[in-house]
């Protein structure tokens, strides 16, 4: 009944499989974890000496390096020896549940031996996604605030080269408008040309003249004359109606043309604003100085913290959408029918990570991260992290947060406070208006982020005391730099407050500092004249290009309108003349009628009924 060779074959196969697992599982597991983690991180993830023991499903490694995707020369963080156990039974259902993970010797921002860049990286979120939109919004706001190099003010602002590149749209628009109006006014000239109506008026005039009241001798001629006069009056009334309505239409059209011509001024304003934005002339209002000085640095901070939220949301969505509802599955795929899962386990669950290590500035840290899980709803727990500094002298760091995906609206909270750190040679900002670094001082940083669905409330504050700024470069011949140096030499505190708040469609980003007023006053004193001159130059340039075109269209409208109006007046006058002739003739007729009534009796009136 049994096939001996078959049983031996299966035993041999199983043996080879186990041997292969024994020799190759470590390498396979190491490269699998590295590949998966790299795709999550966006830069290299390297594990040294991974060891997997099938007994107890124990995994350990000596070192794990996670490169920083923003600067791949450094690690985002790295760990020392790490050990943890996998749960066995969930593995039979294809689920990975990690028990307590103890990570020691965590270091942040450590230098790497090799570049941590990887070739392919799948961006974790789409452009439409809220967090990336929020980051882009802050980035654009910081970039759109015109920054400038104080050195550029040593020479005059180079407005000429900008204007050469500037595409002025108003003349083109005026030209199109000119053609349209030329044609329309031409049509009106044809419609209200006196020659068109002259023949009709002359005919009526001839008719009136041909009526000889003296020829009326009897009731019959009286009646025929009366009929002629009535016809003439009807013709004149028809003529009047036609001419009046045409003139009324013309007046309406002319007022709309005149209104449109006035919109040329709006086009000029648009061109002017475009020129200003291209020139990136700094707006020295107090509201903009903070953004100008610290906008880019603050945005970098937002990118870091919101980047974590972005990744968390991406993987939450990716893992929580694993219940397809297919009605007509493709062949051989079928439809999975879900049943109640009494021992529901998520696809991935890292129950607890105990962290210990130190920052690049040798600040000892210790912390706990709990419940990193593919679907929080299954375990009904949020992901929490809490990291604090140990004895670090005056320095004190506390980072805590909650990623809550239990309800349909994702919610994240991150709080960070870091106080008592020194600012010796601290890089301040890339803004050309500021010195590269603070030579000495003490700093404190606090940040609070709260996201709920498509709403964000966040504040960041940086304060520094006993500050001594380094000097700006190239200050010998530069008035602006000298002023800035003078101003900063009197400043010994620095406070920066940033906030990014609002909903997806209505975000507000602001950066303020205690230097705003000081800088604004100092810069205005020096730069206002220069800026005013640059603006005036742009205005004059636009004026020289646009004014002739504007004058041309105004001339067309005025001249043509005057011509058409003159013709209309002439028609009206001629009409009035003929009307008077008719009235005179009518009066003569009435006299004659009365005379005949007197001669022949009142019975003659019956003729006109």
């Amino acid at each position: 009944m049994f096939r001996k060779k078959g049983i031996i074959g299966i035993l041999v196969f199983t043996g080879i499989l186990l041997l292969g697992m024994y020799f190759f599982t470590d390498d396979w597991l190491e490269s699998t974890i590295e590949d998966t983690a790299q795709s999550l991180n966006g830069a290299k993830v390297e594990i040294d000496n991974l060891d997997f023991s099938i007994i107890g499903l124990h995994i350990k490694w000596d070192r794990l390096q996670v490169a920083n995707p923003r600067d791949t020369r450094f690690n985002r963080w790295e760990t020392g020896k790490t050990e943890f156990n996998l749960e066995f039974y969930p593995l039979l259902s294809g689920k990975i549940i990690l028990e307590n993970l103890e990570v020691s010797d965590i270091k942040t921002n450590s230098k790497r031996d090799s570049d941590g860049k990887i070739e392919k990286f799948e961006e974790p979120a789409s452009e439409e996604e809220f967090v990336s939109q929020t980051i882009s919004f802050a980035e654009n706001k910081a970039n759109d605030t015109p920054g400038f190099n104080p050195n550029s003010f040593k020479n005059k602002l180079n407005v000429d080269s900008l204007l050469a590149l500037l595409e002025i749209k108003t003349p083109g628009k005026i030209d199109s408008l000119y053609k349209v109006y030329d044609s329309r006014l031409g049509d009106w000239q044809k419609k209200l040309d006196y020659k068109t109506y002259e023949a009709d008026l002359k005919r009526v005039e001839t008719n009136i003249k041909s009526i000889n009241i003296n020829n009326i001798k009897d009731p019959v001629t009286l009646k025929s004359t009366y009929e002629k006069l009535t016809d003439t009056k009807a013709t004149l009334e028809k003529f009047d109606t036609l001419v009046s309505s045409t003139i009324s239409d013309f007046n309406t059209d002319i007022s709309s043309i005149t209104d449109n011509v006035s919109s040329v001024d709006d086009w000029i304003k648009e061109d002017y604003n475009r020129a200003l934005s291209k020139a990136k002339l700094p707006d020295l209002s107090v509201e903009n100085i903070g953004m100008l000085l610290f906008g880019a640095s603050v945005v970098d901070q937002y990118k870091t913290y919101l980047g974590y939220v972005q990744q968390a949301r991406y993987y939450k969505d990716k893992f929580s959408s694993d219940e397809p509802e297919k009605e007509s599955p493709p062949r051989f795929e079928g439809q999975d029918i879900p049943f109640p899962d009494y021992n529901a386990r998520p696809e991935f669950w890292l129950k607890q990570i105990k962290l210990s290590g130190e920052t690049e500035n040798s600040l000892k840290l210790s912390g706990l991260v709990t419940d990193i899980v593919s679907n929080q709803k299954i375990i009904n727990k949020t992901t929490n992290f809490n990291i604090e500094s140990l004895s670090g002298g005056n320095r004190n760091l506390k980072l805590s947060g909650v990623f809550n995906y239990l309800s349909d609206i994702p919610q994240e909270q991150i709080n960070l406070t870091f106080t008592g750190f020194t600012l010796n040679n601290f890089k301040l900002s890339d803004a050309k208006l500021l010195p590269e670094k603070i030579e000495s001082g003490n700093g404190a940083f606090a940040a609070a982020f709260s996201l709920s669905g498509e709403r964000i409330n966040s504040n960041m504050s940086f304060s520094a005391s006993a500050v001594k700024f380094s000097k700006l470069k190239n200050t010998e011949n530069d008035e602006v730099s000298r002023i800035i140096d003078r101003v900063l030499s009197k400043v010994n505190t620095l406070t920066i407050l940033a906030s990014l708040n609002g909903e997806k469609s209505d975000l507000k980003f602001s950066v303020k500092s205690n230097l705003d007023n000081v800088f604004a006053d100092a810069l205005k004193e020096t730069l206002n004249e220069e800026l005013a001159a640059a603006k005036q130059k742009i205005e004059k340039y636009l004026e020289s290009k646009i004014e002739p075109e504007k004058a041309k269209i105004e001339k067309l409208v005025n001249e043509q309108t005057a011509k058409v109006k003159a013709e209309a007046d002439k028609i009206k006058n001629e009409y009035e003349k003929v009307m008077k002739q008719y009235e005179a003739k009518k009066q003569e007729f009435e006299k004659k009628k009365k005379q005949i009534e007197n001669d022949l009796g009142g019975g003659v009136l019956n003729l006109f009924k």
Binding site: G6, I7, Y342
Partner: protein
Amino acid sequence: MFGLDLLAKLFKVLRSGDTPGQIAAGFILGMVIGLTPVFSLHNLIIVFLIIIFNVNISMAIFAFLLFSGFAWILDPVFHSFGYFLLVDITSLRDLYTTLYNIPIIALSKFNNTVVLGSLISSILIMPVIYFLTKNFVVVYRTRLEPKVNKLKVVQSLKASKVYGFYEKVRDWRD
């Protein structure tokens, strides 16, 4: 040539030393693999059964190929049948829920309509196909084989080099 080779193998199997029961068992096990999605847990078990038990492997391969074609055609029927079993028969829901909560059973993907529909269909027709195949082998060996041997196509097949090569290889294997 592959078709002829397969046909030759089939005829050879029908008159081989294996019992009709072994041939029929190989056939129905191959049929299950052919009718159900190949990469399933139950198919791994069936492959082990084919290797461990003394059933006819050639017949299992032949049945697998034959019924894979049927599976493609019958897929919508299996889907509907599986849906009926999993959803419409409410009295079985408790059983399914229990099975669903047993880790190793969950790996079998029994809650997939095509997997369950095709597997239950295969199991239902297994006894019928087994007896039909077994009887067919008996009838073939007693009555049909002399007639089949006289067929021109069989004679030309036996005369072919491929068949000669096959016989040699078979003899080495035996």
